[in-house]
């Protein structure tokens, strides 16, 4: 599904290399987790995959089902099936959550040559999905993320993911700022979307999110590279011993 080969990325405005040769393949139906210390390049990877400005790919490739992601605009990547759940969801005063969701859903359908969802069908679907994430009607009416609590913002991200039904979901520290109950709710939302055709890349600092979203593969990222790959037990190792042991081992 998602194939990243020897990806090198630097900041556009300064000579700072952040990713230094990332190799990673996420298969359809699998959940891959990326863990790593601060500054290892995890968030940069998520931004580069979703097309944020400010980064320059100096070497390597990233493809989704064979299509070159790096050549696409952010909205084209979204239509192709990439979804990034933001670490810090953006507040947009003046744009209603519902209007935003509907515009996004229909823009993607249109880009894929599908028919736009009618207002009634959209409403029905969004209400059902919002309910399972405990998002009330008021949150849907309010401007995007404005005045939402940390937990509400993350649930709103998962709602967007559920509505857009992407092929490849990238979750950037979705657990940050969440209490245990909120994390469970978000994890349930994610788990409900797991299926044969969909890949997940879950970026996190901590193992605790992975108690709720069970990964198939765990990668450790350090200094712009994947330095170790293993099964779920790798996450437990990090939890118990921190990153120091692993980093010492690979160096």
């Amino acid at each position: 599904m998602l194939e990243i080969k020897n990806l090198h990325v630097k900041l556009e405005e300064e000579e700072k290399q952040i990713l230094k040769g990332v190799d990673l393949t996420v298969e359809a139906g699998k959940v891959h987790a990326i863990m790593g210390p601060n500054g290892s390049g995890k968030s940069t990877l998520s931004y580069v995959l979703s097309g944020r400005d400010g980064y320059e790919v100096t070497e390597g490739s990233a493809t989704l089902e064979g299509a070159d992601l790096l050549e696409m605009e952010p909205e084209e990547r979204a239509a192709a099936g990439i979804f990034l759940a933001f670490q810090y969801p953006v507040e947009i005063p003046g744009v209603g959550n519902m209007t935003f969701l509907r515009t996004a859903v229909n823009a993607q359908r249109k880009a894929r040559g599908e028919e736009e969802l009618s207002a009634a069908d959209f409403l029905k679907e969004v209400r059902a999905k919002a309910k399972s994430l405990k998002i009330d009607a008021d949150m849907l009416k309010r401007p995007v993320n404005v005045g939402f609590s940390g937990g509400e913002k993350k649930r709103n991200e998962i709602l967007q993911m559920a509505m857009l039904e992407p092929k490849m979901c990238i979750l950037d520290e979705t657990d940050s700022g969440l209490d245990v109950d909120a994390m469970k709710l978000v994890a349930e939302g994610v788990n409900a979307l797991r299926d044969e055709g969909r890949g997940f890349l879950v970026i996190t600092h901590y193992q605790r999110l992975l108690d709720h979203i069970k990964p198939d593969v765990v990668h450790i990222m350090a200094d712009g590279r994947i330095v170790k790959t293993g099964g779920p037990e790798l996450a437990l190792e990090v939890e118990n011993n921190g990153y120091a042991d692993i980093l010492a081992e690979v160096n």
Partner: protein, 426 residues
């Protein structure tokens, strides 16, 4: 004091092109207004109040020229039940207007108020304009009082069931029009006034509004898109006790627009809100000049002005709140913001507060900024195109001003119009 020679010459040249209408009972007011014009002179480039807007085309003795703009978009307020009063190049058109009959309101043409002996009108024509000449001079308004050839007198005594819609059509490429309306809202009466259309190649319009105790006036205006037109408009509004005045203006293009709002809160517990949203492209210049005077206790005033500017467009905001001695418990708010879509556009703002009472809450703010790149990326990452995302954020930026329109049908009409314009890139 003698006027500077440049000003004297420019004023005389302009006056030489104008003829004062005969209109009997307003004649005295017109003569007085002419005397004010002669004393003040027309605005010049060195006047402080015209520091950010060049008045040259507004006062020029040369005949103005503006191409007509043809559009296939549906008429604004087209589906709305309203009483239509149509002016073509500043001249009332009975043929295009509805019968001026509506329960709760009397409407007459200014030229008819004499023969009908309409007292309130005689007592209002030029009066608020005169009051509005201090502490800042507004010579174009005095010029209007003296020479406006047409206009209506609207006397609101009840609560008419539909809005009164003033429609200004532009038909001649060299039209130079002046309109002067007067509106009196009686105690407890309520009315909605709509204005739309490009009006003329050059348009000078003045409205004097007197709202008695407990009266309410809603005003929604959309200034036409004819790109080459220029306009100077004044609204002078006096509010009595517990009265309400809410005004919203939408401006899209027009090479020069100066909208002045002069508001005087003279009765306790009155409320005045003025808002404006404008979208400017290229050699567009838009100036909102607002002067609110609080001269009573516990009044509320709000100024909300938002401008979207691109391709070198210029936006100006001069907003003042004057709180007179004794106007305690005043609640004054003023915000002016611009969204600059490129580096060539500019926004010039002069917010002012002058306060002589000690128990007041007044705040003001002014900002200029670009599109929020983070928000833009967020929308795009969900599949929304750059153009649609930019339009969504632009509309969101204007929303605070548009939200000042209380009536949902009217606000929807304005939003639809804005959406249409933005999707066509104006």
């Amino acid at each position: 004091m003698a006027l500077p020679e440049v000003k004297q010459t420019a004023t005389e040249a302009r006056l030489a092109t104008l003829t004062m209408p005969e209109a009997g009972c307003t004649r005295a007011a017109r003569e007085d207004a002419l005397a004010r014009v002669l004393e003040m002179g027309l605005p010049g480039r060195r006047d402080e109040y015209w520091k950010y807007t060049r008045p040259d085309t507004l006062i020029s003795a040369e005949q103005p020229h503006a191409a007509l703009f043809h559009s296939d978009e549906p008429l604004l307020f087209g589906n709305l039940d309203r009483l239509k009063i149509v002016f073509i190049d500043g001249v009332f058109s009975a043929e295009d207007s509805d019968d001026l009959e509506l329960e709760g309101v009397n409407i007459d043409r200014i030229e008819d108020i004499c023969c009908k002996d309409i007292h309130w009108a005689k007592e209002l024509y030029g009066v608020l304009e005169t009051r509005g000449q201090s502490p800042v001079q507004r010579p174009l308004a005095a010029l209007n009082t003296a020479f406006a050839a047409d206009g209506v007198a609207i006397h609101v005594t009840g609560k008419p069931t539909k809005p009164i819609s003033l429609i200004y059509r532009h038909a001649s490429e060299t039209s130079d029009a002046m309109l002067h309306h007067i509106i009196r809202v009686e105690s407890g009466a309520e009315v909605t006034i709509l204005e739309n259309g490009p009006a003329a190649s050059r348009f000078n319009k003045c409205i004097e509004i007197d709202i008695a105790d407990g009266g309410t006036l809603h005003h929604v205006r959309a200034q036409g898109r004819d790109h080459e037109r220029c306009a100077a408009t004044h609204m002078f509004t006096r509010l009595g006790r517990e009265s309400v005045f809410k005004s919203f203006t939408l401006t899209v293009n027009g090479v020069l627009t100066r909208n002045e709002q002069v508001i005087e809160l003279t009765g306790d517990d009155a409320i005045a809100h003025v808002a404006g949203a404008c979208v400017g492209d290229g050699d567009f210049h838009h100036d909102d000049t607002v002067f609110v005077t609080h001269d009573a206790v516990n009044c509320e005033s709000r100024q909300v002005f938002k401008k979207v500017l691109r391709n070198g467009a210029t936006g100006v905001f001069q907003g003042k709140i004057l709180v007179k001695e004794g106007a305690q418990k005043t609640d004054g708010y003023q915000i002016s913001q611009s969204l600059l879509l490129d580096d060539d556009s500019q926004f010039l703002a002069k917010p002012e507060l002058e306060i002589y009472a000690d128990d007041v809450a007044c705040s003001h703010g002014s900002t200029s900024g670009a599109i929020d790149e983070t928000a833009l990326f967020y929308l795009r990452s969900r599949g929304v195109s750059v153009k649609d995302a930019t339009n969504m954020l632009t509309l969101a930026f204007l929303a605070e001003a548009v939200d000042e329109i209380e009536d949902e049908v009217l606000s929807e009409a304005i939003v639809n119009r804005l959406e249409g314009w933005l999707s066509r890139h104006i």
